[in-house]
């Protein structure tokens, strides 16, 4: 192809002994949106990291605008117009939003000094363009929520003159509404001739915005077709290497007389969320839906004692109301937090340790490292974690696999109530189904689960009871029988 903007041939990459990419061929032209799909650990992030100069490659060639090129570092790729929004958020939290938008040059004028007024004005423009006009460009980026940071990342791409935009799971922490806003931007960029590589585990998004679908499996391209010629089932078969069907989930019915595990009565914090009331029964799965900023994470933190209660009461049968997360874990609660990189993983520690921190295995007063390894082995198998062994540091794992390890940590403590904040963030279809199945099995055995999700189908498929928050207020609490997407969305947008 001659009209190719970027053309990669035979890209190979190994980490130590582990061959991650085995000769990947990939083309993209200007004004094209290509979806890059594959299971967790298939090599998607590694491949795009090589394109954007973030990782060196071991073999293969890259032609950029027809000329053979080597991007030795991010700088040279950026200068060529390759903008990569990484899977893990990478804003500088101590710099202001506007400095992040123009990081590296900050629009310095001829004087060499930064004109903060001009910078703020330009930042406001960009933020408004991505529908985030409410964000004050002068605040520290670290004070924004995960979703707001994601939006700033996208605005950052607009600040540069992108010719190729790489989005690695950009919607994982966005609500459908915000994702729609992002797609509008993507379509606009495409119309202006920008090429876009889009990595996602959400098929409806893939069908909605991409022109071509490329599927990676174990570091090889196994499918490359126009989107019109693909089907959901076909893609899944390519990704997994076999035909794959979902077992339809049946939402468990909770007996009216099942014991109450936790009762919240008009609880509230200092202004972000509340009043919220509900009773969680044994074996119940409570799904909490809401737009970003609705106060879902805050509610979980309130329930787990991470956030001080400003009003209302929490009652549990044993009378323990945790006031810190140590107390929470000790009293049989477990929390899988949102934002795995900042709140979840212990990056340099081994996989076994990342699981065992929740429940140290001891014998005779000292840690039993063997037992910790076998604890890990149990989940390794059950959750299908792709790794080289229990001793591998967790930061070496792909994003989705890290998420599975943190999920394993929560299960390892054998909690009465499991709190999950976006549990399937960045997890591929097959694993998602596995995690749903696990959650349901645990609930059948009597564990109660409270989960927050921005994926509506997930909430409706998994929850036995659905709660919706809108701007901190509870706008819906109903058994998941006959609830439609429309009911839930109406409640989510309700101006309570």
């Amino acid at each position: 192809m001659t009209d190719c903007l970027l053309s990669a041939r035979g890209i190979a990459k190994s980490f130590d002994q582990n061959r991650v990419l085995h000769g990947v061929d990939f083309d993209i032209s200007a004004g094209q949106v290509v979806a890059l799909l594959g299971e967790n650990g298939a090599g998607k992030s590694t491949f795009v990291n090589i394109l954007s100069g973030a990782l060196p490659r071991d073999g293969g060639t890259i032609r950029w605008g027809g000329e053979e090129t080597v991007f030795r570092d991010t700088r040279s790729a950026l200068d060529a117009g390759i903008i990569h929004i990484h899977q893990e958020l990478s804003l500088i939290s101590s710099l202001s939003v506007m400095e992040n938008l123009f990081i590296g040059d900050y629009m310095t004028g001829r004087s060499g000094l930064i004109d903060r007024k001009a910078l703020a004005a330009r930042a406001r423009e960009l933020l408004a363009r991505v529908g985030a006009g409410h964000i004050d460009p002068r605040v520290e980026a670290g004070s924004l929520s995960t979703a707001e940071q994601q939006i700033v990342e996208i605005a950052k791409a607009l600040a540069r003159n992108a010719r190729l935009l790489i989005l690695d799971e950009p919607t994982a922490s966005l609500t459908p509404h915000e994702a729609e806003a992002l797609f509008a931007i993507v379509r606009d960029l495409r119309a202006h001739g920008v090429a876009i590589i889009f990595i996602s585990h959400r098929f409806d998004e893939v069908f909605a915005i991409s022109d071509r679908v490329v599927v990676l499996r174990d570091g090889r391209v196994v499918g490359d077709r126009p989107v019109a010629e693909t089907t959901r089932a076909g893609i899944i078969a390519d990704m997994t290497g076999r035909a794959f069907t979902f077992d339809a989930l049946e939402t468990p019915v909770i007996a009216e007389d099942a014991p109450v595990r936790l009762k919240a009565d008009a609880i509230a914090d200092k202004g972000r969320v509340g009043p919220v009331s509900f009773a969680l029964r044994k074996g119940e799965i409570l799904g909490i839906f809401g737009l970003v900023g609705a106060g879902r994470t805050e509610l979980l933190e309130l329930l787990c004692g991470l956030r001080p209660l400003a009003g209302g009461t929490i009652t549990r049968p044993d009378g323990v109301v945790p006031r810190s997360s140590t107390e929470a874990w000790r009293s049989g609660l477990a929390l899988l937090p949102e934002g795995r990189k900042t709140n979840g993983i212990l990056p340099s520690l081994s996989l076994a340790e990342n699981v065992a921190v929740a429940k140290r295995q001891k014998s005779g007063g000292v840690l039993d490292l063997g037992a910790e390894k076998s604890l890990f082995a149990r989940f390794h198998e059950a959750l299908g974690i792709v790794c080289s062994g229990p001793g591998q540091p967790i930061r070496r794992l792909s994003g989705g696999n890290q998420q599975k390890v943190i999920f394993a940590r929560c299960l390892a403590s054998e909690p009465d109530i499991l709190f999950l904040d976006e549990p399937t963030h960045g997890v591929d279809v097959r694993t998602k189904a596995d995690i749903y199945k696990q959650i349901q099995d645990l609930a059948k055995k009597g564990m109660s689960v409270v989960f927050v999700s921005s994926e509506l189908p997930e909430v409706l498929a998994l929850a036995s009871t659905v709660m919706v928050l809108s701007r901190g207020r509870q706008t819906l609490l109903a058994a998941n029988r006959g609830l439609t997407e429309n009911d839930v969305l109406t409640a989510a947008f309700a101006q309570a």
Binding site: R75, L78, I92, S93, S94, L95, G104, G112, L113
Partner: protein
């Protein structure tokens, strides 16, 4: 700013706590000693603050970029004797000034290169150069103090009116470094690198160059500090600046700079240096044993940092 935001500002900014301490000590001394508010004493205080403050400006940049520079005390000693020897042997005091700042710059640059290219940890690298620079100062002087009283020394001992020249230098440098840190590309990159080096690299920032730059600035300012200190005493002792790095780091921390990098204000650093200078003066005026001075400075650092992290605990972990 309304009253509420003022209170919030004081509660959440360490430099505000330190400024409050500074004002308290100042008022206390005004009443406790009749000599305190005399022009002569105040100009002594200004001198005491100057060298710590100037060296702390560079140290602050290093710490904001996520590093630490332990070598500054030794660089002070080495640059003081360099200034004395070079100006004596060439007969040109201006070369002495260049020599003092140049040797500091060279050591700072070497620190930066070792840290970024050989990937030696900053603590270890500068612990090494601390030893090397002190040893070099002793070696070239054979351990003997050098006379240093030409016009280059004037920068250290001189006054314009009642105001010490070094204090004027401190004010000018503070403004320059503050502008650099808040308003220039490189300055903001220093914060970015200290906050999250990986993210900074992915955003196209040259992390290694940024680090080399801050160490070079720190070394140069320590070189200037040596020149001033030697000049003030009109005598360059190879042991000058022994243990100085601790005062300098204390001033930076008192000024609200996070040891973990990414955060801190230049104005705060000068306030920190001023508090340390004022405390030292207090002990002299009140005739309290110098040993208490050392203990008090330690307590003040712990108190200031403790008060500030109590106020912010919930955000940190």
């Amino acid at each position: 700013m309304n009253a509420e935001s003022v209170v919030r500002f004081v509660r959440t900014r360490r430099e505000a706590t330190v400024l409050a301490m500074l004002v308290l000590v100042f008022i206390g001394l005004t009443f406790a000693s009749e000599f305190f508010l005399t022009g002569r004493n105040l100009s002594n205080v200004a001198r005491q603050i100057s060298v710590v403050g100037i060296v702390a400006l560079g140290q602050a940049l290093v710490i904001i970029a996520g590093g630490i520079d332990l070598s500054v005390g030794s660089v002070i000693g080495l640059s003081a004797v360099t200034a004395a020897i070079v100006s004596a042997t060439t007969g040109m005091p201006s070369l002495g000034i260049a020599g003092a700042i140049g040797i500091g710059m060279a050591i700072g640059f070497a620190n930066g290169v070792l840290i970024t290219k050989l990937r030696i940890n900053p603590f270890i690298t500068t612990l090494g150069t601390l030893s090397i620079a002190r040893g070099a100062a002793l070696l070239i002087t054979n351990g003997n103090p050098q006379r240093f009283d030409n016009w280059a020394a004037f920068l250290g001992y001189g006054k314009i009116g009642d105001i010490p020249v070094q204090f004027i230098l401190l004010v000018v440098l503070t403004i320059l470094v503050w502008l650099f840190a808040t308003r220039t590309r490189w300055g903001r990159n220093v914060y970015a690198v200290g906050d999250n080096a990986r993210a900074a690299r992915l955003a196209g920032i040259d992390v290694a160059k940024t680090r080399i730059l801050v160490f070079t600035v720190s070394g140069s300012l320590a070189g200037l500090g040596g020149l001033l200190l030697g000049g003030m005493l009109t005598n360059a002792n190879p042991n000058l600046g022994l243990g100085y790095e601790l005062d300098v780091i204390a001033a930076v921390i008192l000024g609200g700079v996070a040891l973990s990098g990414g955060r801190g204000s230049i104005g705060g650093v000068v306030i920190g240096a001023a508090l340390i200078g004022l405390l030292r003066n207090a002990f002299v005026l009140l005739n309290v044993s110098g040993y208490w001075q050392t203990i008090t400075i330690g307590l003040v650092v712990i108190l200031a940092v403790g008060a500030d992290s109590l106020n912010r605990r919930s955000e940190e972990d």
